[in-house]
């Protein structure tokens, strides 16, 4: 990334009025985004930091209680730990699956065969469908007595589990449901697969490289920036998993699918403990930020950018 940004000339180095005009144009052009960010993201974020030190139910005046919310969260709230555990386990399983699965799909969709665009559409479709609509369909697919999966399993003599009603199977069931959204990562991989210069493969082929070798030595290294991008995005969004559990399981059975954000939502919009929910939100923010920083810091060890000496 650093290499790329250096290629752009820095406006400050240019001389005179043109530079200033360019600067003004620059700020004018990003103003809509910047204003939106300040008003609707940064402002509320800072407000929520303030709210996290209070007890507030939206209607009665907020009461300053210092670090009580944070203290309760870490010392007296088993559901906080439970929701953190559910989310961490889910992230640890889902993110690698999404990264690898998306890549495999992208490789398949990168074949030059007739009608491949139809398949691309099919695999990408779930990512643009309204989540609730496909979750409701999945609830019926997973139905223990009349659902598609257990009916198919019964044909081969397997007594399928009671998916969403069984605390051991509910999280895997949600995982399975989410993998339907692999198409999102696939599209990004696909774009960067198609950006890999053909001549590299040709040269490798002339040198007698096998398919696996050219994948290992050409495709994978050139994809690392995309993998890096997908990894960060995937971790951030997986830590914020909400809809599936909200619609299909309501966090149950026995809190086995109580995702962090679902718990936060409950505190905020079912119990109206705005202060406590804000504290939860800030803890999540810190967790995600630390994870992202760790990944970014370690990325130069494994992410390869073209133009760099590898």
């Amino acid at each position: 990334m650093a290499a790329k940004s250096q290629a752009l000339p820095s406006p400050r180095r240019r001389a005179g009025g043109f530079a200033r005009r360019e600067t003004i144009t620059f700020y004018l052009l990003i103003a809509p985004w910047l204003l939106g960010f300040l008003l609707f993201v940064l402002g509320p974020m800072l407000a929520s930091l303030g709210i996290s030190f209070t007890r507030w139910d939206l209607l009665s005046p907020a009461k300053l209680i210092g670090l009580d919310n944070y203290e309760k969260l870490f010392t007296r709230d088993p559901l906080f730990w439970q929701s953190l555990k559910v989310t961490a386990v889910y992230t640890a399983v889902y993110v690698p699956l999404e990264l690898a699965g998306g890549l495999v799909l992208a490789m398949l969709m990168n074949q030059k065969i007739r009608g491949v665009s139809v398949f691309r559409t099919i695999y990408y479709l779930p990512s643009v469908l309204p989540a609730v609509a496909f979750i409701v369909v999945w609830i019926w697919i997973l139905h223990p007595d009349v659902g598609l999966i257990n009916t198919l399993l019964s044909y081969v003599g397997v007594d399928g589990p009671r998916w969403l009603a069984n605390p051991r199977w509910s999280l895997p069931a949600l995982l399975m449901m989410s993998l339907w959204g692999l198409g999102r990562g696939m599209v990004i991989y696909l774009a960067s697969l198609q950006g890999i210069p053909k001549h590299l493969y040709e040269a490798a082929a002339i040198d007698g490289a096998s398919g696996w070798q050219s994948f290992r030595k050409i495709t994978l290294p050139l994809l690392t920036p995309t993998i890096f991008f997908n990894l960060v995005l995937s971790i951030i969004s997986t830590f914020q998993t909400f809809t599936g559990a909200f619609v299909a399981t309501n966090g149950g059975p026995l809190d086995s699918t109580l995702f962090y954000v679902l718990y936060l939502y409950r505190q905020a919009f079912q119990f109206f403990n705005m202060g406590y929910a804000s504290a939860l939100a800030w803890v999540l923010f810190v967790i995600i930020m630390v994870l992202t920083l760790v990944i970014v810091r370690t990325s130069d060890r494994w992410v390869y950018y073209e133009g760099e000496r590898g």
Partner: protein
Amino acid sequence: MKRFTWIASIVVILVMVLSECGTPEPQIVIRVGTGDAGEGLKPHEEIIARFEAENPDIDVQLEAVAGDYYARLLTQAAAGDAPDIIMVGDDAVPEFVSKGVFLPLEPFIQGKYPLDTSIYLPSVLDPGQWDDKQWLLPKDFSPLGVYYNKKIFDQYDVAYPKDGWTWDDMLKSAQELTKDTDGDGKTDLWGIQLTANWTTGFEYYVAAAGGRLISEDGTQFVGYMDSPETISAVQWLADLYNKYKVAPPPADLTGWAGGNPEFENGKAAMRLFGRWPQSGLRTNPNVDLALVGVPAGKVRANVLFWGGFGIYAKTANPDAAWRFLRFYAGEPGSQVWKDWALPAVASVAESSGAVKDPIEGVWLNELSYLVPRAYVFTPYWGQTANPALGKALETVLIDPAADVATVMQTAAREAQTALDELLAQ
């Protein structure tokens, strides 16, 4: 020519805009907030149309928020901009009233546009009260009942359930109708479809077992949620699922109806639930529908589910809002609601034939056996005992070996700790 067209159209638009301003119609706007959606909005729209025809000085605007209705409502209330008329469900009443969202209705009921509250069926006004004052008027309501499919009873020559039946009668019928019809070792026909870990529905079992979940003063769960009566109610529900196996195991444990399709599919003979799916069941070809009151345990009891309307405390037009509310929830509105729900006004229940209807009459008759629900005793029910009770029910449903008494003691303690903390604040 082009320029002329431009000027002409601008003139026309100006004339239209100005003439709009010219006809002064000082209409009062009344906003109505509801969590209903889709089909459910039709009765609202019809009542509003009827009201506006009679009251041209008031313009009623329906604001439907599907999904996160309460979250939106509280945000609006926090900003001082909630709708003038607000609909809320039973267990939200104490919370919203104690946070000062509603105006007390007595001054209006006795005021310039009075309302005779004796027009309502007995007990449908109660859920709109808090601290001995009336805050909301009823929109719709439902007790629990047991639907049964006459087809299945006839086929196996089992006598229909009769009003005044008991838990033992229910178990007997359910056992007679739980069958493995194809001999593969799996049940194909179930006796009765129940409501899994639905906590509010479960309050019926507790009441019928002669117990209660919270002390009269609203401060104690310990000694109530773990009383012998409550434990016997939990045991009974768990046994119907796990010991007698007369109920289809829940497909989900989201805390609502259990996700079972058996009754609709003609694969369960009975179903304990409220009135909500009734219109679909009446036209369902798999079901020859009939209804009976819920069976008595130690005592005969039932619980009410209820939605009502109140007036927003900061409304700019309390009088206009009341004029609409009195129409909406009064006799004229009830004439419309009767086609969608149980009518709350006694004369409408009588004139519409609901009282004599073999199904609607059963619901209305159940109103004589109501006991107050637990939320009536504390505004904190939703965030203290409700989750604890839900988890306890999940535990005993999932694990047939779980000791019900221990589970309920844990739940009671958990709920008590949460309540004590809130009461100390």
